[in-house]
Symmetry: C2
Subunit: 106 residues, 2 copies
Amino acid sequence: MRRDIFQAIADPTRRAILVLIAAQAMTPNALAEHFDTTRQAVSKHLKILLECDLIRQEQKGREIYYQLEIDKMKEIDKWLEQFRQLWETRFSQLDDVLSNLKNNKS
Amino acid sequence: MRRDIFQAIADPTRRAILVLIAAQAMTPNALAEHFDTTRQAVSKHLKILLECDLIRQEQKGREIYYQLEIDKMKEIDKWLEQFRQLWETRFSQLDDVLSNLKNNKS
DNA sequence: TATATTTGCAACTGAATGATTGCATAAATA
DNA sequence: TATTTATGCAATCATTCAGTTGCAAATATA
């Protein structure tokens, strides 16, 4: 069972979930209302997102709020980094770009 | 048959192919040498990458060189944009970000 | 011209994926 | 306490996916 962030964001419903909870932590039921599938289907998506640490849960009574694990999203950005250099250095500001990358590296 | 960039980069072999040809245009045979699978498997990955415009081909005699379509890679970056705001605005611009996300709900 | 090389396409296979239905558990509420 | 609500887990199913093998077409080379 492959379970990494790239496989996680391959599904459009999971991408939509990430966008929704980026704005506000939500329960599975609340999320399910935004989609045309069953609550269980949404729960399975949440489980996948949990397993690759893209979200975390917080129990509040019998409700469970899911919220974005923003640091994990950065890993996608990190992978894109190598390509971003390609399209940014088209405009002959190579030195500036490189030094920016170095300074923002944390 | 879903065929979008997110599904395309979900496969680790395809991600490796993208990294390889980002450095230099390559033929299917040359690419296959870098992996532990058959040439046909690599060709199928190339076909998928082609279909979502992440790469393009250039015929040279009987050889076909595949190269990165860097503009298409930007679309991933574009999707990340909404989240990048979250991790870049460290100081008290949270309200702006949240309202932006809500308004861009599509 | 005959042969080797490079490639794409088709058929097949086992595994993974997304979704559904049914059920169990725990917490809130009447 | 009895019922409703929120959730997770298991079993099942149809579809998709990644990989393989075999073959055909086109180009290069002997």
